[in-house]
Symmetry: C2
Subunit: 121 residues, 2 copies
């Protein structure tokens, strides 16, 4: 798949909150994921599909998603950008908030090999 095809599929899946399916079908086994800031414990960087899926698992376990809006993609060469706007409740504190972030992805051989998120902590 081209960068544009990977980007369009990721947007389609994430818009439907199918985050696991997006990772399983589009991510390289050697994916590197970089957060703007680390949750308590782990570092900013997660390496490998198992680690990235574990991070996602932590997130989905601890957040209830009321709505998810994905805009984009903007595609340039091997990279693309999208935005996520999530209305969520952080379950441990029953705290509802809106999360807005820019995500940048790098594609090699039809698979996402790098993702980085930009948001305020």
């Amino acid at each position: 798949m081209t960068t544009k095809e990977v980007a369009d599929k990721l947007v389609t899946l994430c818009s439907a909150a199918k985050f696991d399916e997006a990772m399983d079908s589009l991510y390289s086994p050697s994916i590197v994921s970089m957060e703007a800031g680390a949750p308590p414990g782990p570092s900013r960087e997660s390496k490998g599909l198992a680690a990235v899926k574990a991070k996602a698992q932590w997130w989905t376990t601890n957040h209830e998603v009321h709505s998810a809006t994905v805009e984009g993609p903007l595609v340039a060469g091997s990279h693309f950008a999208v935005t996520f706007k999530l209305d969520v409740t952080f379950k441990p504190q029953s705290k509802r908030f809106t999360m807005e972030e820019v995500a940048v992805y790098k594609v090699v051989d039809g698979k996402v090999v790098y993702e980085e998120f930009f948001y305020n902590m």
Copy 2:
């Protein structure tokens, strides 16, 4: 200015190749600029408006721009993303090539305080 207003103005100015005006009017004195990879000599990171303008000066001196296309912005909270597609000639080698990159910006108090570029070296 809101993030969206800063983003729209940056796209307008850069689409007209008014890169200096974009920096002068939209960038914070404490701007930090991060390249995907460093040109020979400097590091990936440039700190402060003078350093960032010096980097831009190096670039404009060494490249002839045949066309510039800017797409976006995608805006999320304090951040926004655009893409640049530049048809340029690297003058020292008379080498013409197309450069495609994703750029992410962070806005605080109506000024760009951080920019990062994603492209293949």
